[in-house]
């Protein structure tokens, strides 16, 4: 189960990077989304995916059981999702501005005017 997840995250990373290198702006956007999801999955997999006790301390104890699931990586992923979402929204607005200016979504048109 773990090895399959790791392979999937690797595949997603590769897809994300491949799409980010494309010419069309939409594909770059999709690549960004896939890459950020892949990295969130990496954090998820890194915490361990074996069946474990929920990370709740019972009333009569003061520390977490050693075999409990890792709650911190879930918090990291949540933060990363929110940040990625904001970046993605802004990137979309920016690419739309570029596409409005050139009337198509070809990023190769983004050659600066020579001085």
């Amino acid at each position: 189960m773990n090895i399959l997840l790791i392979l999937v995250t690797g595949l997603l990373c590769a897809c994300g990077v491949f799409l980010m290198l494309r010419r069309s702006a939409i594909r770059v956007l999709l690549g960004m989304m896939i890459l950020s999801n892949a990295i969130n999955l990496i954090i998820f997999v890194g915490a361990g995916t074996t069946p474990a006790i929920p990370p709740i301390i019972p009333a009569d104890q003061s520390t977490l059981a050693t075999a409990a699931a890792e709650p911190l990586s879930q918090a990291l992923i949540l933060t990363a999702i929110v940040i990625g979402f904001a970046l993605f929204a802004f990137m979309m607005a920016l690419l739309m501005r570029h596409c409005d200016h050139h009337n198509c979504d070809d990023l190769d048109l983004m050659t600066e005017e020579l001085q």
């Binding site: 990295i39 990496i42 890194g46 915490a47 940040i83 802004f90 990137m91 920016l94 200016h101």
Partner: protein, 507 residues
């Protein structure tokens, strides 16, 4: 102590909120609020620095979660110095913006965004936790994206796309490194990471997993800092936003990357310095050389200065490559001097743009005849950048190169000197084109009416302020050098940080 450490973060954040709540069409109110926030930020930074002179390294755990859980702020001498410079540059840029920024940008919440950026930078300098550093990086990145594209011109959109894609990728690498560090080593606090790695890996070891994590983190910081070969986003984007914004970016954003590089290498991965230091040496040399050759080839004044940023960043990375206390102190001194000088140069470029209406060096001219005092004001940071005594740049380069000679890095020191000469050449190029040569089109007195020159006084005031700082550092280099040396010695002995954590844990 808690309040003192958190104040440099909270003041710009709360100030940005206040600026958002205040009506953005009331320009005077926004300016007044911003200046007050900037002054409060400076006071908080000064108090924080004073505290570090008394008590060395302190670790502040937010929310009273004990170490290594929760989020910690790491306040050492280096962090306090950087926060101090941030506050100074923030205040100066706010004062400069009063005269430089158009009203429609102010209506789009320019001043609030400026404070968000300063909050992100201050937070990044004080972060003691790897993921918290990521969050502060993203805050300052988000604010920088919006500031970069605030004027909604096509050039800004283009520059914004390039800037955003590359910085997004660097942030992804950083996040991957932080997540993998947590998975592999089991903690996110930088001090704890360093401590655990020191236990499991003695001197001179190379565990592949940890090396991979170190590589991810350092590459992410290197992209942010703008080193060879991942610096292309910098000259592609820094010449498009309003001049005040460029000055702030040039002064602060790349130095956050350098700060993270220094912090990660000395605190988290010091046992791998036998691998990291030579890489930094080579990369620093390549960055210096390619940066200065790029500067020599440009004809847009802001692009010349952008390539200079890259070239000087090479010096700071070179300091890390030498790996000694004196080299690190020289690197810290260089960083502080460079922030002030670079911001000043961009502020003056903005003043030149306002006075001549152009940014192309070919179209400028005759400024020395018309405004000789502006020429003098330009000479102060230009000569300081090139390393001419008695300005601050001379001592920065001198200490760095003598640290290189001490460590027997003769070739690197020689290349650093040669690059300094080329920097001087490109500065004289700006001087010749903008100031010395006769103006192509005679700008008469009625050509520039008083309306378009309104606000130049405020812009000049902020530039003079920074020039005075440069001259003072040059006349009294010992003050800053002693502070930098103490900071470097703290950073080269990670045991101090572990001891500080134990002190903080005492009830």
């Amino acid at each position: 102590m808690n309040a003192l450490a958190v104040a440099p973060l909270l003041i710009p954040l709360l100030g940005a909120t206040a600026l958002l709540l205040a009506p953005s069409s009331r320009r005077q109110l926004q300016e007044l609020l911003s200046v007050c926030i900037g002054l409060a930020h400076c006071v908080a930074a000064a108090l924080l620095y004073h505290h570090t002179t008394l008590s060395g390294v302190s670790v502040v755990q937010i929310g009273s979660w004990s170490f290594p859980f929760g989020i910690g702020l790491l306040v050492d001498r280096f962090a306090a110095l950087m926060v101090g410079v941030t506050a100074l540059i923030g205040l100066t840029t706010v004062i400069y913006s009063i005269g430089a920024v158009a009203s429609d940008l102010v209506r789009r919440h320019y001043y609030a965004l400026l404070q968000f950026l300063l909050a992100g930078v201050s937070g990044a300098f004080l972060a003691g936790d790897l993921f918290n550093l990521f969050v502060w990086f993203e805050i300052l990145l988000m604010a920088s994206f919006v500031l970069l594209t605030l004027g909604r011109t096509a050039a800004q959109a283009e520059a914004g796309v390039k800037y955003l894609i590359i910085n997004f990728f660097a942030s992804s690498l950083f996040l991957m490194g932080a997540g993998l560090a947590f998975a592999e080593i089991g903690t996110l606090s930088m001090i704890d990471l360093g401590a655990r790695l020191a236990i499991t890996a003695g001197e001179g070891s190379s565990s592949p997993a940890v090396l991979f994590i170190a590589g991810l983190l350092l590459i992410a910081f290197a992209v942010k800092a703008g080193v060879f070969p991942v610096y292309a986003w910098l000259p592609a984007s820094y010449h498009t936003p309003p001049t005040a914004v460029t000055a702030l970016f040039a002064g602060l954003l790349t130095k956050v990357g350098i700060f993270a590089l220094y912090r990660a290498t000395t605190l988290i991965f010091p046992m791998y310095h036998h691998i990291i230091a030579p890489v930094c040496l080579v990369i620093g040399l390549c960055t210096m050389i390619t940066g200065v050759f790029g500067a020599v080839a440009q004809m847009n004044i802001r692009k010349v200065l952008s390539f200079h940023i890259i070239s000087q960043i090479g010096y700071m990375v070179l300091a890390l490559g030498f790996w000694s206390s004196s080299a690190l102190a020289a690197g810290i001194f260089y960083t502080l001097h460079h922030i002030i000088v670079k911001t000043n140069l961009f502020l003056i470029a903005g003043i030149i743009h306002k006075l001549t209406g152009t940014e192309q060096l070919r179209d400028m001219g005759g400024l020395y005849k018309k405004y000789p005092y502006l020429a003098l004001l330009f000479l102060v940071p230009a000569l300081s950048l090139s390393g001419v005594p008695p300005l601050s740049g001379f001592f920065a380069k001198f200490t760095l190169i003598s640290a290189g000679f001490e460590g027997s890095f003769l070739l690197s020191a020689g290349i650093a000197l040669a690059v300094g000469l080329l920097t001087f050449y490109s500065m004289t190029k700006i001087w010749n084109e903008a100031f010395w040569k006769a103006a192509l089109v005679e700008v008469t007195a009625d050509g520039k009416d008083s309306q378009s020159l309104k606000g130049v006084g405020v812009m000049l005031f902020s530039s003079i302020l920074l020039a005075i700082c440069t001259v003072l550092i040059g006349i009294f280099p010992g003050v800053l050098w002693d502070a930098a040396y103490v900071a470097a010695e703290q950073m080269m002995t990670p045991k101090i940080y572990v001891a500080a954590v134990e002190v903080a844990a005492l009830p």
